[in-house]
Amino acid sequence: MLILRNITKHFGSVVANERVNIEVEPGTIHAIVGENGAGKSTAMRIAYGFYEADSGEILLDGEVQQITTPHDAIARGVGMVHQHFMLVGTMTVAENIVLGAEPGSVLSLDLTEAAAEIRKLSAEFRLSVDPHAIVENLSVGQQQRVELLKALYRHARLLILDEPTAVLTPQEVDEFFAILRSMREQGKTVIIITHKLSEVLAISDQVTVMRDGRVVGRLETSETSAAELARLMVGREVLLRVEKPDSKPGATELKVKNLSVMTADGGKRVDNASFEVRRGEIVGIAGVEGNGQTELIEALAGLTEPAQLSGEIWFEDRDITRQAARSRRELGIAHIPEDRHRRGLLLDFDLAENSILGVHYRKPVVTYPGDIVLDYDAIQQRARRIISDFDVRPPDTELPARSLSGGNQQKLIIGRELDLKPRLLLVSQPTRGVDIGAIEFIHRNLVAMRDAGCAVLLVSAELEEVTSLSDRLLVIHEGRIVGEVDPKVATIEEIGLLMTRGH
């Protein structure tokens, strides 16, 4: 049905897909699994014409096709349901479904005919939804049905579904799988992108595994196991075992009690989490990305609106749940954010100015009169110290942060935060997009902080990184802390299963 041949795609200097080959047989359900950032979505968006590949070919029914816009893909019977739904919230279900493929003439949009057609499809594929409802009033599950109907309405023979179950409850997932099976029975081909191994085993006929932009395996689902898939997905060679002495944990620094973080629409991103971090230990949080890690760390750093929080956060013997980010920093909490471009840096400011973010208002950075004026000598001194201590290259305090490589940007942030001599360090994805040399350097510094008595909470999507750095390892799944393992004895497979299945 669909063949991707030697697809390569770069975004700037980032390689998203490297000579990807995927073959999907007609009338089957094909799963594509991999960690976040493995390149699954990119490959499929290329197949749908949303991106254009740098090189490689797309074949449909054995023929090479020029698919450069979604329009081309739709015309050839390919439909895609994106992870973030591509729906116009203020319009009706029927309007969304017909958009771009309107029935009737140029002068009149025949929504009655469309509604009838939609009802027919709904019945055929058991996708009940009211054509006249306004989309933003529907539940996520119903919105997903609208997306499926949109593809079916355009006579899609091949449906690409990007993480379709991420937004569904377990009951909805069962129902959804029943719908997929009925589609297969009616001769449709389905590609499902997921990182949940249980789902791969439950629904697919074949499975392609991706890692770091490459295909690392293609298997018959009936002949494989969750353990094998987990190993393929996350199991690269252990290169970076961190040598570190055993921890000597001291008093409790951070205590989280029944913490929940709500989204604006009432969903829970962190669900009743309780744990402690002590002085002199690194507590890791492992989990598939998007399971509440970001929200958890931001809540601890004071970046969440208090109205969205419930539960308590204690630092030493203070309740800091309602304190602003600035006062938490003043207490001795530092934060290495997961997204250095969005949170961590002022990209057009120079290194010196970046080195004072968060302490820009207090001594020794400001000076008389009235501690208002920035003391550029002190700032330069501080910046030079961080740059030399953390080996930021090139060591020029007047360069804009934008001009540094990812690894050096990250070293600058880590230097800035560690220079605060924090008593609690919140670390998120410390080595993402960082070269090997810098990774080692960063790891050594985190361990050194621990040994100096700092409490470290570490979140990383790199399973191997959290297991080798942490003294204790918590696993998070759908916002809940689902278990604690000893990273010295647990295997990658065990942790991987806990991460993906959540029990």
């Binding site: 980010a325 954010p337 973010l357 968060g358 950075v365 920035l374």
Partner: protein, 355 residues
């Protein structure tokens, strides 16, 4: 070297605008070289040309700085026009109400009136954005019209000399008048309205530079404009910065009132502003949102305003509207440059802070 680099693009934009302007002049049947010679010649002659050029540049320095400060916080202040009207009226009000005070008290009082008047009128859209998230562009446009109507009402009904056919207030007390620079500069006749406000404008350039780049408050404003998420991470309250930036911006626009009321007409004259607020956007953009650039580009636009009058008078067909045409084209080109080098993304204008 760095400065030179910064000057390259504005220079190209201006050059391009002049070339298009030349084509237009040819179309209407005049000689562009002659027109431009008149333009610059009359703007740079001593003392009238230079005196008037600097006089016209004065309000533009203030509004250019006003737009710059908001810009650095990721906000577009289209409301300088309204802010300067409110401020100018406030100056006149103080100058009239306390007309008998001595200059030592009245002048500072009038300065404060200008700053407070403009600052308050700038604070309104700032607070509306911080509190309700409503777009500062629309609100500042609307507030311009409200301000213009408001000061016109007060002028007409409360502060006009009865029977005066012109819509203007009674004169301010002589203690509120500031000196013309002719007093200090030999060869510069007193009839040229260039006054102490120009010195205030130069000082304002220095102060704005100091405020934005040398104080913690300026750092917080610039951080918010550069990357609101990172600012928030660094413990900076975005809402507070939005209000602060708009207050400072409004206060700077308000200083136009000093030039107009205390240094030029000695009264509030309804509808005095020749779109100073809007030209301020052009000044700031062309000046690459830096005080030095603002100063240079305000002088450039001041030159156009001065020279435009002479081109109008001494060519057959070209009118002083040439100035508006050139100005519009310059902004379009500078905006079009933005897309190549992305200073808008840089100043956070396109990724407006979500509050």
């Amino acid at each position: 070297m760095k400065l030179l680099h910064e000057l390259v693009f504005p220079f190209i934009a201006v050059l391009a605008a002049f070339i298009i302007g030349a084509v237009l002049i040819l179309i209407v049947g005049d000689n562009p070289i002659e027109a431009y010679r008149l333009l610059f010649g009359s703007a740079l002659s001593w003392p009238d040309g230079i005196g008037y050029t600097l006089f016209y540049a004065t309000p533009l320095i203030f509004t250019g700085l006003a737009v710059l400060v908001a810009f650095r916080c990721g906000l577009l202040n289209i409301g300088a026009e309204g802010q300067l009207y409110i401020a100018a009226f406030a100056v006149a009000w103080v100058g009239i109400t306390f007309a008998n005070l001595s200059a030592w008290i009245l002048v500072p009082l009038c300065f404060i009136a200008a700053i407070v008047g403009g600052g308050v009128w700038g604070a309104i859209p700032g607070a509306l954005k911080a509190r309700f998230g409503s777009h500062e562009v629309i609100n500042t446009i609307m507030l311009n019209f409200v301000a213009i109507a408001l000061v016109s009402y007060f002028t007409q009904y409360h502060y006009k000399t009865p029977g005066d056919p012109i819509l203007q207030t009674v004169p301010i007390g002589s203690g509120a008048e500031i000196a013309r620079l002719g007093k200090f500069i030999p060869g510069l006749p007193d009839r040229i309205p260039l006054n102490v406000a120009f010195i205030v404008a130069l000082v304002a350039c220095v102060l704005v530079y100091f405020f934005l780049w040398r104080t913690k408050w300026g750092y917080e404003i610039r951080a918010t404009g550069n990357n609101p998420s990172a600012a928030e991470y660094g413990g900076i309250s975005i809402r507070k910065q939005i209000v602060l930036a708009m207050v400072v911006s409004g206060a700077l626009a308000g200083l136009v009132g000093i030039n107009e009321v205390m240094g030029y007409r000695y009264r509030f004259y309804d509808g005095f502003s020749a779109n100073y607020g809007f030209t301020g956007i052009a000044v700031a953009l062309l000046g690459r949102n830096h005080p030095v650039g603002v100063l240079l580009s305000a002088l450039f636009f001041g030159m156009l305003l001065r020279g435009g009058i002479f081109v109008d008078a001494f060519t057959d067909n070209v009118t002083k509207d040439l100035v508006d045409v050139l100005q519009g084209i310059v902004i379009l080109f500078v905006a079009a440059e933005a897309l190549f080098r992305g200073p808008f993304g840089k100043f956070g204008l396109l990724k407006r802070p979500k509050v």
